[in-house]
């Protein structure tokens, strides 16, 4: 037995049989003249309802639709209800869906048609109209069922599509959220270290790698406090971390330190927080930190400069006044020296007077340097040739270097470059660095000092390198005023150097180990742009 189609199944359900088909065919012939009137009434009714009317446009279309409605009514009362019939009705149903006719109007419109057809049947057939009316009800219900099917198909399709869209959106949103999370953690300019309940590192972001010098896979699984060289019994960070891990409370921001892979100490503003429900991968606490070493150095230096500016006026006045008694002392020493040479020429007395003279000169030098530092004049910037500046300074240092058996190499750029600088102050900077380099190399029994100049895209780079013993400590505050490791140094040379370079909107830094010390200066090629 061939399987029943949906239409056959519906016909069986409403019990539309051969007898009904005959009755309907007969009724169709009777009612035919009445059908245009029904179509007119139908569309008049639609005009009264905004939402229903909205699907129509223009009277011409209504006329066409009225003709279609007549054709449909003729077909409904045609007595032939086969698969082709079903397909035609299904097409009409789909058109209703496509033009957006609301379902409620289709149902109520069908009621209007039903009432009109039943009245016509009653009018023409009188008391014999019963079976015909039943057949009409059946065929019209069949129509409704088929047309509603089109709505149902459309709804199902729309719901499925919405569900598909939702699934796609949700997947994309999840992927996005994860990506955002990963890049937020990775790209944050903040140290983020995730810890498990035992305080072992489970997460170590890029900034943590950068500041600490450790690669992620070196530290994952290791106790955090060990890695950053913190003694948990005494250090603030250790205590706070223990508190967070045990009580799951958040700690505020506090300053601490961190030992890098190379053993340097960095200042870090830490904050330790219980991770709570935020993460699942075994991380119970997050230590976040900001490397404030440079900030702190800058702050310290700014504070120092402020202090110096405050006492600058007083101190500068005092320094100037010191020059008068120094002048008197110097003249008297010159006189004494001459008198001793003339009269007794005793070597020990002469020696003593010369020492006094040297000490006075040293004091005078200190006064000059201090005034340079405390009351600096802004640099007078003029286009300056890098090659000329370097050659000039090398010429000045060469004799000292030669007598100290230090080889001085002047590594010039392949082509000259001009940049805005105060030539006198630049000379002072380079002289200072070269003399320091020569002195420290000479103390080692000789060696090589290199002055190197290069042009960068936006800056001029000047390096002063020596193979001397290096700075006593990599963290030594060599650019601070009155810090000196040299016998007889004023401790102002590098402070002045630093100030001159920063007055040029440039930077200076140093790297040092035994056998190689290198000062690196960067000066802008254009002053307006800054560095």
């Amino acid at each position: 037995m061939p399987t029943e189609t949906r239409f056959q199944e519906l016909k069986r359900y409403v019990r539309l049989d051969e007898r009904d088909c005959g009755l309907l065919r007969a009724f169709g012939q009777l009612a035919a003249p009445e059908l245009p009137r029904i179509a007119e009434q139908f569309y008049d009714r639609i005009r009264e309802h905004e939402d229903a009317h909205a699907v129509l446009n223009g009277e011409q279309q209504i006329k066409r639709l009225q003709r279609s409605l007549v054709a449909w009514l003729t077909r409904v009362c045609g007595g032939v209800y086969d698969e082709a019939y079903h397909e035609q009705t299904a097409v009409i149903g789909r058109v209703h869906v496509r033009i957006g006719l609301p379902q409620r109007y289709m149902l109520t419109a069908m009621a209007l048609i039903r009432v009109e057809l039943l009245r016509i049947a009653a009018r023409f057939l009188g008391e014999h109209s019963g079976p015909t009316q039943e057949a009409l009800v059946r065929v019209l219900d069949l129509e409704l069922a088929i047309m509603l099917e089109a709505y149902k198909d459309s709804y199902v399709e729309r719901i499925e599509q919405a569900a598909r869209q939702e699934r796609t959106d949700l997947g994309a949103a999840l992927a996005d959220a994860e990506h955002r999370y990963v890049s937020a953690v990775e790209l944050a300019g903040v140290i983020i270290v995730g810890l498990d309940a035992q305080g072992r590192i489970q997460l170590f972001n890029r900034e943590a790698e950068r500041v600490s010098g450790y690669a992620r896979d070196e530290v994952l699984g290791r106790p955090f406090l060990d890695v950053i060289g913190c003694d948990d019994a005494t250090d603030d960070l250790g205590q706070r971390l223990t508190a967070v891990l045990s009580a799951k409370v958040a700690s505020g921001v506090f300053s601490g330190a961190m030992r890098t892979r190379s053993g340097k100490l960095r200042d870090v503003a830490w904050s330790v927080n219980a991770a709570g429900d935020l993460t699942t991968d075994g991380v119970v606490a997050l230590a976040t930190g900001r490397d404030i070493t440079d900030e702190k150095t800058r702050e310290d230096r700014a504070r120092q400069n402020e202090r110096l500016a405050a006492i600058g006026t007083l101190a500068a006045g005092l320094a100037h006044e010191i020059r008068n008694p120094l002048n008197g002392a110097q003249l008297h020493v010159s006189f004494l020296e001459r008198a001793i040479v003339r009269k007794s020429n005793q070597d020990d007395m002469l020696e003593a007077t010369r020492v006094v003279g040297d000490e006075i000169r040293r004091l005078a030098n200190l006064v000059t340097e201090f005034l340079d530092f405390a009351r600096p004049k802004p640099p007078e910037l003029k286009p300056t040739s890098l090659v000329k500046a370097m050659e000039h300074v090398c010429g000045l240092v060469e004799p000292t270097a030669k007598s100290a058996r230090v080889e001085l190499a002047c590594d010039l750029p392949s082509s000259d470059v001009e940049f805005p600088a105060d030539a006198a102050k630049l000379t002072q900077v380079l002289l200072n660095l070269l003399n320091n380099a020569v002195e420290s190399t000479a103390a080692n029994g000789g060696g090589t000092v290199i002055l190197r100049g290069r042009r960068g895209p936006r800056q001029v780079f000047i390096d002063v390198e020596d193979d001397g013993p290096g700075l006593p400590s990599p963290d030594a505050p060599i650019f601070d005023a009155f810090y000196s490791t040299k016998e007889g140094g004023t401790g102002l040379g590098l402070a002045i150097t630093h100030r001159i370079v920063t007055d040029h909107r440039g930077t200076i830094d140093v790297s040092s180990r035994p056998g190689k010390t290198s000062f690196h200066i960067a000066l802008p090629l254009e002053q307006g742009a800054g560095v």
Binding site: R323, N324, N327, Q330, L331, S334, A364
Partner: protein
């Protein structure tokens, strides 16, 4: 009489309020063959510079009582464009040498290095001797 024809004075006029140091400096200079007059204020320096014979050299501190050393130096320059002028100061930046009528004075920062000063004065003595030599030769018809 033009400048090159006038015989130069060995006299040094020294102006500074620090009399004790000035006297010591004067002793050193006299020892080296100069003739030194010491004054301790700007007003008496200007009145000295108002009459002939003018000193060959003026050494003045910038900060002196009764008018300042720069005024003394400017007055001296107006009296004699050839006079050697040395300004001594604790504040080298206070002296505006650029606006000074040429030739500009030499500015020395205290404490004074005596050998440096002596070198300067001797350079001028050599120039002077050279100039007098020419004068003598041309006048004596050599």
């Amino acid at each position: 009489m033009s400048d090159s024809e006038r015989p130069r004075s060995d006299e040094v006029l020294l102006v500074d309020i620090d009399v004790r140091s000035s006297r010591r400096l004067a002793r050193l200079l006299e020892d080296d063959g100069f003739n030194v007059q010491v004054l301790c204020d700007g007003a008496s320096a200007i009145s000295r510079l108002a009459r002939a014979p003018l000193p060959g050299t003026l050494i003045t501190e910038l900060a002196v009582p009764l008018t300042d050393g720069e005024s003394v130096a400017r007055f001296a320059r107006s009296q004699d464009p050839e006079m050697q002028i040395v300004v001594l100061t604790r504040h080298p930046h206070l002296m505006n040498a650029a606006s000074f009528p040429s030739p500009a004075p030499v500015i020395l920062t205290k404490p004074l290095e005596y050998p440096r000063l002596l070198e300067l004065l001797r350079e001028r003595q050599v120039e002077k001797t050279h100039a007098s030599g020419l004068f003598l030769r041309s006048n004596s018809g050599w």
